[in-house]
Amino acid sequence: MIVAVARRIALSLLTLVLLAIFVFVATEIMPGDALDVTLSADELAMIPPERLAQMKRELGLDRPAAERLVAFLAGTVQLDFGLTIISRTPAADIIAYPLRNSVLLAGAVLAAAIPLALALGVAAAYRYRRALDNAVSAGAIIGYSVPEFVIATVLVILFAVLWPLFPATITAATRDPAHVLLAAAPLPVATVLIGSIAYLARILRVGMIEALASDFVERLRLTGVPEWRVLLLHALPAGVIPSLTAMALYAASLVSGIVVVELVFAYPGLGQELVRAVTRREVHVIQAIALSSAVVVVGLNLVADLAILLLDPRTRR
């Protein structure tokens, strides 16, 4: 068990190092360095070579790539992602609160989505190929297919304009306490929640169908174990295990992936910051966001792996 846990932690750390190298290579070496990416085409065409060389020196871009990579990795370990090109602000300072806000939004979505999806997935699997299953499956396909900006707009019209229950746009400050942000965010949460429930219910349903059709469930039923015990205490853990990794990755994707929802509702999260950084061509902020997203993905994946290790003895070998 300890060896298996240690192996997974080591693998996660290795993955993070490789990802950091990839982010560095993608943004600083190919196809141009950070300055080339930041400057407009006109600037690159017009600035004399000696001035460009001087600017590169000022940003440390004249050093060998390997040396810069080591400095980048060392900085990353200390959460030092460098300064922004325009305002010379630490990139870590720029993303800290937006990252917290995105984690909050994703957390709120998952807190509601996981129990609801579990209930729907289990119910649909238990009523496999009956009306309830058909309704859940059809609803899940629709919920997963409708784009989030459409859901967001419909929710705004219904619950902010026609029936003004919730804010249509979020005016809370970036550094407001968590409860202030969450109180202002029912519509963004609901927007993401619909797609999340749809996605999670589908994968849970599949896992549960397999579990309920397995030999051990049949044996339990034949031995007279009550149906609710079969369903909740035996089939559910077995049905959830295959979905854990997918659920963890989905949760991680929420943190950095709900850009559209953040833009529609002006939610002060990582998505808005990423869009701003890309349009401003702030390479260090993009690196910081990419790496923090990678940490969330790898971290949640590790949590899922450890949970599987705990729940499924076969994986400990």
């Binding site: 407009s40 085409a41 006109d42 600037e43 017009m46 600035i47 004399p48 000696e50 001035r51 001087q54 600017m55 325009i86 305002s87 602000t89 705004v156 902010a160 304009v161 003004p164 919730f166 804010p167 249509a168 746009t169 005016t171 809370a172 400050a173 970036t174 550094r175 833009l263 529609v264 509702f265 002006a266 002060p268 701003r276 349009t279 401003r280």
Partner: protein, 521 residues
């Protein structure tokens, strides 16, 4: 005339007092309904935030607030009213010291308190202008500020300026508690109607009523909240529809028709507003060093199409004349000729581009909601003259630093072929913006520039407004013939508000809106 019968007399006798009572009620009832009510919070969304906000380290500083309406927290010596007339604000007297017009005596109001309770005196004004004369574009003519009394100052200018009182009204030129110019203003303490309670850079600011405001009895509101929705007008309008916002400032004029039909929505237009300046850089290697190419572009742009397509007609937009003067200014002179594609082609051919030209990328930021449409119209209309004009939108955040820079390419961050917005001001300030030393002229130089500046200096020491007008006309003619920058068309500012918001007037200078007498029913 028929004789009055007794019945008629009786009828009139009853009817007349009744009519008088009804008339009295009709006249007095609105007055009673309009009596300002104290208290409440007003939340407004701003669609045109402060472009310096992205560079802010302290967003309470008047230069880096969430929007340009610094008068919510600060005060200036003078104010330009909705009719663009300059009036005193914290000054009680502004007068030239002599007929050279290069020294101005100002007396400041006594008993004005800062938000921390200290009295604002001439020393605070002098210290504040030590920053303004270094950083505010219109105040750099101030050479020295002399404190001549506890509440009296003398401004010494580098040259005469007949319109100096307008400079004192600039939104940057506020009074702050005296400090070294590098540090002044960082506390966020002013003398304005509201005190800054909290501020989130580029996003939001909350202000609370200043109980010791110098305009006694004002402001009426207890709290003012500003939400920046620059580049996110749809979000702002959704918030207005959802009753989160009491007003939305600086909306796209094309939305007016739609919003007029919506319930509980008052559309409040201003008589004028900002216009777009297209900066034509004249650094080494730029095609705009060639006057013929500048003029070809000026002739090729269909300005009427901008007004029609971007603004929805002349009620909401106006044609510019390639000077910084607004088309609605009485001193403005219309362009002598309209669009001339043949002339544009001829100029290009003379410049060595008989088959057309591809210009560098024109950058713009969505400082106004309609700017994307604005530059698409320009891009399309200049094609007819053989001009290919790539355009690229940049974010508002950091745009100021991106587009400005040095005249010298060798210094790196050189100034761009780019857009900026300019609001309507008096000619003295507006026409000064085309000086060669300013980024907005693309660092224009040459004999015509020198003649332009000679005329400017002459106008500034001409006390008579009529004589100044003819000098200004000559300067605008130079702009037309030289096209140092292009100012094709402008907008009329539009805000929307709830009907229960009273006293909120729109302003051609969107930064000069005041909240002192605004109240909510």
């Amino acid at each position: 005339m028929a004789d009055l019968r007794r019945r008629d007399l009786l009828a009139y006798g009853v009817a007349a007092p009744a009519a008088l009572v009804a008339l009295d009620r009709a006249l007095t009832a609105p007055a009673a309904a309009q009596a300002p009510k104290r208290g409440g919070t007003l939340v407004y969304a701003q669609c045109s935030g402060n472009r310096r906000g992205g560079d802010a380290s302290n967003t309470k500083h008047p230069y880096f607030m969430v929007d340009l309406i610094t008068r919510c927290a600060y005060s200036t010596l003078t104010w330009v009213d909705e009719g663009l007339n300059v009036v005193n604000e914290l000054a009680t007297k502004v007068a030239p010291a002599d007929d050279k017009l290069n020294a101005w005596d100002v007396e400041v109001r006594e008993g004005v308190l800062f938000h921390d309770g200290k009295e604002a005196t001439a020393k605070d004004w002098a210290a504040s202008f030590e920053l303004h004369r270094r950083r505010n574009f219109a105040s750099q003519q101030i050479q020295r500020i002399e404190v001549t009394g506890k509440h009296a100052l003398r401004f010494h200018l580098d040259a005469g300026n007949a319109e100096f009182p307008y400079v004192l009204a600039e939104y940057d030129n506020v009074v702050m508690p005296a400090d070294e110019w590098e540090k002044i203003g960082l506390t966020g303490i002013g003398t304005g109607p509201f005190k800054i309670a909290s501020a989130d850079p580029q996003r939001r600011m909350v202000l609370e009523r200043n109980e010791s405001y110098w305009r006694k009895g004002q402001p009426f509101l207890d709290r003012l909240e500003i939400v920046n929705r620059e580049g996110q007008m749809e979000s702002a309008i959704n918030g207005f529809r959802a009753r989160q916002f009491d007003a939305v400032l600086n909306i796209d004029p094309r939305l007016v028709r739609q919003l007029q039909s919506e319930p509980e929505t008052d559309v409040v237009p201003a008589t004028s507003g900002d216009q777009a300046v297209i900066l034509l850089p004249k650094h080494a290697g730029s095609p705009f060093l060639d006057r013929r190419i500048r003029l070809a572009l000026a002739h090729a742009i269909d300005r009427d199409a901008i007004v029609r397509i971007v603004y929805g007609g002349q009620r909401w937009g106006w044609v510019g004349n390639d000077s910084h003067l607004a088309g609605t200014d009485p001193m403005s002179r219309p362009r002598p000729t309209g669009r001339d594609v043949a002339k544009a082609k001829q100029l290009l051919a003379e410049a060595g581009f008989p088959n057309g030209i591809t210009l560098p990328t024109l950058y713009y930021a969505p400082q106004w909601p309609e700017m994307g449409r604005y530059f698409q119209v320009i891009q399309e209309t200049v094609k007819e003259a053989g001009i290919t004009l790539p355009i690229e939108e940049r974010p508002n955040d950091g745009y100021l630093k991106f587009r400005t820079g040095d005249a010298d390419v060798g210094k790196g961050n050189f100034h761009k072929f780019a857009y900026t917005a300019v609001g309507p001001r008096n000619p003295g300030i507006s026409l000064f913006r085309m000086r060669g030393a300013n980024n907005e002229s693309g660092y224009w130089s040459g004999p015509e520039h020198d003649r332009y500046m000679d005329l400017y200096r002459k106008a500034m020491v001409t006390a008579d407004a009529g004589q100044r007008k003819s000098i200004y006309a000559e300067m605008q003619q130079i702009c037309f013939e030289e096209a140092p920058a292009l100012l094709p068309a402008g907008r009329n500012n539009v805000l929307i508000k709830r009907p229960n918001v009273h006293g909120l007037k729109n302003h051609p200078q969107h930064w000069s809106i005041t909240w002192d007498s605004v109240w909510k029913a």
